[in-house]
């Protein structure tokens, strides 16, 4: 805008075609409404800063819901109170954009309280214009969070009573208690002097965003002649006499000078190094050979149970991972749903030549019981002819069932002797693969690196598996 003329900003549409009303050259705002003035100051600043093409305005719910009729920018209209969240979402996709969240008092300070505080606290690099007129305009004059004590509205017909509705919320003060915001000021659209302050604040809030300095909020006290039931001139007087006492004007936070300006870099979509970043597996030739287990041990449905801390879940994962390396269909699921009760840690594993149906195992062909409660709870679920492997160091009785095979092994004792009691699960695993030939130990060893985070523990775990296999060999003589 040339300095020698004050005219309609180019950041406004010439004709408001989006307005379905026949009057497409005037706003929908009531005579004297403060929104129009603030719109003008924002549009002028957008013009002057040359940022129109990258500006995106978020219209709220409230009288300014139709701000998109007017601003010749990108426009996103969002749900009541959610503009700071939606603006966050968009700004993160386009950090180079200039995002304006334009909100009223019901939108920002009532239904959207969480969103504004959290966006401010994240220090989102956008600019919030908060229009406080102490009343709900769009819906016809109801109580706002900023309605003054004693002020009559259609939902506080006897005047705002702090005992019933609490006190007016001071947004600028509240936001300025947070560490992140860069600039918080309260201004008022009243006389020429105060309006000039509004103009300066608008420009500063936008300049901060251009310079990537972070979150700015400008609270703008504004009149609502229609719902205050006063003429525009009386309204300004009422604002000056009453609102400013409750909502003092001034700067509540200004770290503009402390924060260095930075460039807003555009987000670039790329797939460089994506598979590595996602830690996806690298294609390798599998050399693992699987011997055919006896028919009764094929396609096992496995339930593993013990105390938390005995490594039951890890045992299951190791079986599934090794099974996958050996070419089986596999599934693993931790105890979940009804089985979560009872203080035991369980998991279910399937290894199969076919596509696996139920991932949960209600009738196991193999039960691993690492403690007595597990044996007592699940013994009867095992299918006839199935197998129960149990840790004799922990389980003080043998299975009662006579129609299943039972393999007892002092796994905890063996692991203890190896120097790691927690290796009992791997001893059991060794016993299982030794007893059934379901997997070669190489498949287990191949599975270990992806499951055991502390690499120095891998040899110990390998030894435990070997010990379990050795126990079974000795058993058979």
């Amino acid at each position: 805008m040339a300095e020698k003329v004050l005219a309609k900003a180019e950041s406004f549409f010439d004709i408001y075609d989006r307005n379905p009303s026949p009057s497409k050259d005037v706003t929908h705002y009531c005579p004297g409404c403060g929104h129009g003035v603030l719109h003008k100051l924002i549009a002028e600043a957008i013009d002057d800063f040359g940022i129109r093409e990258r500006t995106v305005l978020f219209s709220p719910v409230g009288c300014s819901v139709f701000a998109y009729y007017y601003f010749r920018t990108g426009n996103i209209q969002c749900a009541h109170g959610r503009a700071p969240a939606a603006a966050t979402g968009f700004k993160r996709t386009h950090p180079e954009s200039i995002v304006i969240s334009y909100q009223g008092d019901g939108d920002l300070a009532a239904i959207g309280t969480a969103e504004i505080i959290q966006a401010a606290n994240r220090g989102e690099n956008f600019t919030v214009f908060f229009v406080n007129n102490a009343i709900y305009g769009m819906t016809g004059g109801q109580l706002a969070p900023t309605t003054l004590v004693g002020q009559k509205t259609t939902t506080s017909p006897y005047g705002r009573n702090p005992a019933n509705e609490g006190y007016p919320i001071k947004v600028a003060e509240m936001i300025s208690t947070l560490d992140a915001p860069v600039y918080v000021e309260r201004v008022a659209i009243t006389d020429a002097k105060n309006t000039a302050r509004v103009r300066r604040a608008v420009r500063k809030g936008l300049q901060n965003q251009i310079d990537n300095k972070g979150f700015s909020l400008i609270e703008v006290l504004s009149v609502c002649p229609s719902n205050w039931k006063m003429d525009p001139i009386q309204s300004k007087q009422w604002l000056s006499d009453n609102m400013i006492q409750q909502f003092p004007l001034g700067i509540f936070r200004d770290r503009t000078g402390e924060v260095p300006a930075a460039e807003n870099k555009r987000h670039i979509f790329h797939v460089d190094g994506l598979r590595e970043a996602l830690e996806l597996p690298v294609e390798t030739e599998s050399t693992i050979k699987v011997a055919a287990p006896a028919p009764e041990f094929q396609d096992p449905r496995i339930k593993l149970a013990g105390f938390g801390g005995q490594g039951v879940l890890m045992l299951g994962l190791m079986l599934a991972e090794a099974g996958m390396h050996a070419g089986y269909h596999v599934s693993w699921i931790p105890s979940y749903g009804p089985e979560m009760r009872g203080g035991t840690a369980n998991c279910h594993v399937n290894l199969s030549h076919r596509r696996i149906g139920s991932p949960t195992v209600s009738r196991p062909t193999l039960l691993v019981a690492m403690n007595l409660p597990s044996l007592e709870r699940f013994e009867n679920e095992v299918v006839p002819g199935g197998l129960i492997i149990y840790d004799t160091a922990m389980v003080t009785r043998a299975p009662k069932r006579t129609d299943v095979k039972a393999l007892g092994i002092p796994a905890s004792t063996i692991a203890d002797e190896l120097g790691n009691t927690r290796g009992a699960n791997m001893v059991i695993l060794g016993a299982y693969i030794g007893y059934t030939s379901i997997l070669p130990k190489e498949a287990i060893f191949a599975a270990m690196p992806s499951l055991i985070k502390r690499k120095n523990l891998i040899p110990l775990n390998e030894q435990a598996v070997e010990k379990g296999m050795e126990f079974v060999r000795n058993l058979r003589g």
Partner: protein, 84 residues
């Protein structure tokens, strides 16, 4: 080529059909050069009028007016077409 000669005196132009008659510009004008028309405009409001002289181009009315296009202020020395 001769320098174009700018406006000798500032002036305000009110687009009557965009004026909602709120009166804020009239109230704020330090020179008291604005007035309320007796006639109604297309929107049914009594629009603001300019007395035709006395405008200093201070711009106060422009920033008091809530309508983006209702008031245009040309300052002394302005060169160019009238903004339409």
């Amino acid at each position: 080529m001769a320098e174009p000669i700018g406006l000798e005196r500032a002036k305000i132009v009110v687009r009557e059909d965009e004026c909602k008659g709120c009166g804020l510009c009239i109230e704020a004008c330090p020179e008291q050069v604005l007035f309320v028309h007796k006639h109604l405009n297309r929107l049914g409001y009594h629009p603001t009028g300019y007395k035709g002289e006395g405008c200093t181009g201070c711009g106060i009315c422009f920033y008091q007016c809530p309508e983006p296009g209702a008031i245009t202020v040309y300052k002394k020395g302005y060169v160019g077409e009238e903004v339409v």
